[in-house]
């Protein structure tokens, strides 16, 4: 069982919550942290590989960076729920408090992906978007499943 995708301090991980699952992404920029957290979101559902057959564009605008992060994850959850697609690759662009994201994925294959549980909403619990002293950005919150 692998619950992290950590490479030299950059990547995603799941962290403890009694009822649900925390996701944390980290990277050299806030963009990388958001992208890695999105991958952690997908890994709540499945550890299986996901093909990049479909591309979906999303946009979010918020009043602060932390709520923008919640909006970003909620936008992905919305696309999973309405398109029945899982995403395995993400590209984020942020200007001020406006985010444009590209998601690549494929339709859910219940046998191959064996989805463990359904992410239903990003919460404000354990919500943090911050840069540490070494310049590494972290974006995290608990996902309601």
């Amino acid at each position: 069982m692998n619950a992290t995708g950590q490479i030299s301090g950059f990547g995603w991980e799941h962290f403890h919550h009694d009822a649900d699952i925390g996701v944390r992404g980290s990277g050299r920029s806030v963009v990388e942290a958001f992208e890695q957290a999105a991958l952690g979101l997908t890994r709540i559902v499945t550890y299986s590989p996901i093909a990049a057959d479909i591309r979906v564009e999303v946009e979010c605008r918020q009043c602060d960076l932390e709520l923008l992060f919640v909006d970003w994850l909620d936008a992905i959850i919305y696309e999973i729920a309405t398109r029945k697609v899982l995403f395995g690759c993400f590209a984020v662009r942020i200007e001020g408090l406006f985010l444009q994201g590209s998601l690549w994925g494929e339709p859910v294959d219940v046998v191959r992906h064996a989805p463990a549980c359904e992410p239903k909403g990003a919460t404000l619990t354990a919500l943090k978007v911050a840069r540490d002293d070494s310049g590494i950005w972290t974006a995290q919150c608990v996902i309601d499943v």
């Binding site: 550890y47 919305y78 989805p115 359904e118």
Partner: protein
Amino acid sequence: MDPAGFTQIDPVTWRIEPTGAMRVPAIIFADEQLISEMDDKVGQQACNVATLPGIVSASIAMPDAHWGYGFPIGGVAAFDPEEGGVVSAGGVGFDISCGVRTMLTGLSVEDILPVQEALAETLFRQIPAGVGSRGEMTLDDAEMDAMLTGGARWAVERGWGEEHDLDRIEDGGRMEGARPDFVSDRAKERQRREMGTLGSGNHYLEVQAVAEIFDEQAADAFGLRVEGVVVTIHCGSRGLGHQIGSEFLKEMASTAPAAGIILPDRELACAPIKSKLGERYLGAMRAGINCALANREILGHYSRQVFGRYFPQASLELLFDVSHNTCKLESHVVGGKRRELFVHRKGATRSLGAGHPVVPQAFRAVGQPVLIGGSMGTASYVLAGEPTSEEKAFSSACHGAGRAMSRHAALKLWSGRQIVDELAVRGILICSPSSRGVAEEAPGAYKDVEAVVLAAERAGLARRVARMRPVICIKG
């Protein structure tokens, strides 16, 4: 939590006196073992709730309380709109009106056992569950609004339920005051093909056998007998409820400071009941309640269809349907005075005692059925509301076992295959698309449900009527 940090009122009641910004005390109902095993965050969250404007009497936590979102899961709090009271999206939770319904089959375990495997497979095939599943129906805009206004009554009118079910559902199966026009297009789009789906995580459909009766009179009134078989469904308002919760949570979090509300935790995001935002949330949240009531009614209808194939004589009568993530306007006596309050129950069940006028006539002599879900390998319970729950907890009781460990921790201890095999040896069939999902929901990941319901009984919230053991469990 360390019980030493509380004032012990009696063996199952613990109190945190108001300090700092707390307007009222926090009260936790639990025995010493349960409270010792609760995360420190439960106490912190209960104290945070106690700081919200207009809160009445106390911030309350049930015996199954665990770390939630702003409110603890298992939290109860009432707010008075005449005293600046608030409504909180976090206090209702994301899965608006998540709840439980139990249906009586009229069958015995010996009727089920010869077809147990085939019945399990058919239920698993016919009940849409898990990521990627779609319902059989697609709602256009007009039907969506009709569903959000009509609740279970809408489902019955469309042929997905029976008229007499409505007497056995809270609020007669339809929540008044729903405003589909306050529900976003995205929330509606998310629900368009999700009616009649079970979901995933801790949601389930179980075929259960009554293992033990504690209260013969109430069991008679509820139609429960030892070795009788029931079907229990646990799910909620699916994508629509979550979208409503997510959208209003962010809006409330960003506007609370301007409304003069100081939030100790952003997840406690709320708005004054008497405000445009509060009114919009209440209208949307009530539409979410109707969505959940309709969804469980449809799932009950599917269950009837499947049972009808194997047991044409079985009629599957609804025992009761309760919601445990709601905010409802209710009349309560506080300090000898009747007040109209907005009662938030986040992971807590309404628990009306005998004689209460809202309890259906068939149960009025014994109290409202309170349905308590366990885990897939342990017991579930049917309780009856106690009149003393009015004074103690605004007529509320616990809602389930409550998780004892995270999904991450559960995955380190168990594999799905191991759980399925172990339960099969005990005569319990598990059907799930995901081995990992089964491991995350392992019975050992939950608290001892017997300790939880016993604490609720000792606290005077609800009393035990019957214990059920699982026979078939369908997980998303």
